[in-house]
Symmetry: C2
Subunit: 187 residues, 2 copies
Amino acid sequence: MIELLKNSIPGLRDNWDKYKDLFKEIKVDSKTVLLREGEIAKKIFFIKEGCLRMSFYSKGKDITFQFFFEGQAVSSIESFSSSQPSQFALEAIEPSTLIVVHKKDFENLQKEYPEIRTGMQEILLQRFSRYAGLFLSFIKDTPQQRYLNLLQNEPHIIQRVPQHYIASYLGISPVSLSRIRKRIHGI
Amino acid sequence: MIELLKNSIPGLRDNWDKYKDLFKEIKVDSKTVLLREGEIAKKIFFIKEGCLRMSFYSKGKDITFQFFFEGQAVSSIESFSSSQPSQFALEAIEPSTLIVVHKKDFENLQKEYPEIRTGMQEILLQRFSRYAGLFLSFIKDTPQQRYLNLLQNEPHIIQRVPQHYIASYLGISPVSLSRIRKRIHGI
DNA sequence: GAAATTCATTAACAATTGTTAATAAATGAT
DNA sequence: ATCATTTATTAACAATTGTTAATGAATTTC
């Protein structure tokens, strides 16, 4: 995982001894909260192994709206880059191995390697673009169709993520998702 | 309207005689199609007066997902900037007065005034950011709540846009929107 | 490995939505 | 002004979803 970052920035690899201490590997249990809603994001995570979910509270309900897997860089980017309280929480939903970089260190790295900043913007744009697609899907598809889309396009989510989080992600209740599955997969 | 563009770019104002022919004002009837789905966007519009909607076809239905009003710059930006066929259509839903700029001319302007490009990126980012918000609203709110949000945050849409387009925008049928309104506004 | 907790399914009922069709109201065209 | 078309409402019924609660299955904890 970290190899990816290392390799994409030549200077980083060449001076690896100088930087390697900034990348700390941690292992966390499932359900470990990595960022609480309202906190300011001071870390960025690279997922080496495992799965995280991003969520927020609304009317007494915990709503999950994105999942992250191996190879992805994760933070509440808005909070991380603006130092404003995060609107979202971040939590492990599998025992996970993460590479942690602190904001201070990350900013120093950014100064030395401006391509990191570009990469961050790229990630942000990709996320927004993804949300745009999901918005269109909500406007045109039924919950059942959205489940089928997920099955088609991101089967790993359905395989690995507990069902009630998927229900939340589809904007429906766990009970309703169970019924949809019954309708689709038979009996 | 065009004043806005003129004023935000000093050089434009100073050499206005040179450029003014690139900005053509047109008046269009309601229901005029300005860009068909599948066409490559070769124009950008600045709305001086009136209202447009952006839409696409899915399973035999025409789905509206955004409205544009006075003072906004509109194009199928993805198509306009990538020269790929547009996924979306653009249509007037009021008699409208538009300033049209052709892509060629716009690109020439961009070369002379790079801040225009930045402005375009800004517009694109704003639109994505808006879609992100709408996505979260779909995931957490009921159709009725989304209607109330619209009433609260963008009452001009409800005042000016025919109801069946709003229904589409909310992801529900016109019949259902009529029932929601009855529930809310009484009797 | 037993107990506790979490998660998924099912049932029952209420509420909401979709669909179709009929009617009423509003808008546009000649 | 009249006619035609479009748009909004209402009704009736089917389908879907939400909610609550009970049960079963799976997982975690000790």
